[in-house]
Symmetry: C2
Subunit: 130 residues, 2 copies
């Protein structure tokens, strides 16, 4: 799983996966739609293959690549514990972005032990301080 994030970090690779979502394709087809050269695409495919994100089927000279979603499932699993956080209060978050009220998540479980005190009251937001 660790490396899957690194692999998805590249836009070209995500694009390849997106293309393969509709079904398997030969390399040349991918090259046609991506603005990359064939060797570059092959290199990406190698990376994806070694990560288990795609699978190849050989048909004469042509090699049909197909998506293998399993590693993505692991990413999904990694996300699981976090998912609660936005499922829990999505609207509250949006409201927060829009108007910046003053307070947010009601759950303050300070990990340490010393509840700092008043809880939150974040309003600092995006103050880019140069």
């Amino acid at each position: 799983m660790a490396s899957t994030f690194a692999i998805l970090a590249d836009p070209s690779r995500r694009e390849i996966l997106d293309l393969l979502r509709t079904g398997e394709r030969p390399v040349g087809d991918l090259v046609d739609r991506l603005t990359l050269t064939q060797p570059t695409v092959s290199k990406h495919l190698k990376v994806l293959r070694e990560a288990g994100l795609v699978d190849v089927r050989q048909d004469a000279q042509r090699r049909w690549y197909r998506l293998r979603p399993q590693p993505l499932a692991e990413i999904d699993a990694w996300l699981a514990p976090y998912r609660r956080m936005w499922e829990h209060s999505l609207d509250a978050l949006e409201r927060h972005l829009d108007t910046m009220p003053e307070d947010s998540t009601p759950d303050d479980s300070t990990p340490n032990d010393s509840t700092p005190n008043g809880t939150t009251a974040d309003d600092s937001a995006e103050g880019t301080t140069p």
Copy 2:
């Protein structure tokens, strides 16, 4: 979203997020548990901050960092179209692989439920614009 994958690609950063999952923490606390130096942690926090993955609250000299799940939600959204692929039929997909004897799951009860495709391959794939 694009950059969120790149940010999650770093194990230290994922570790930081994991630590923040239980609640906000000051920098020193993170430094204590990560085997990194304080400047390095601060640097990672800066990256996370600029990506909107964490948020800071200042309390005297101490800065409490807190998780902001929204970018993770976007990752989740990106995953959505793929999710069907494994949720729908993981075993069937593996069986569908050409001749992979590895599956060996003797009792596939999904008789003919939903052959994932058969079609796949829109071979019209050639790039010539329609």
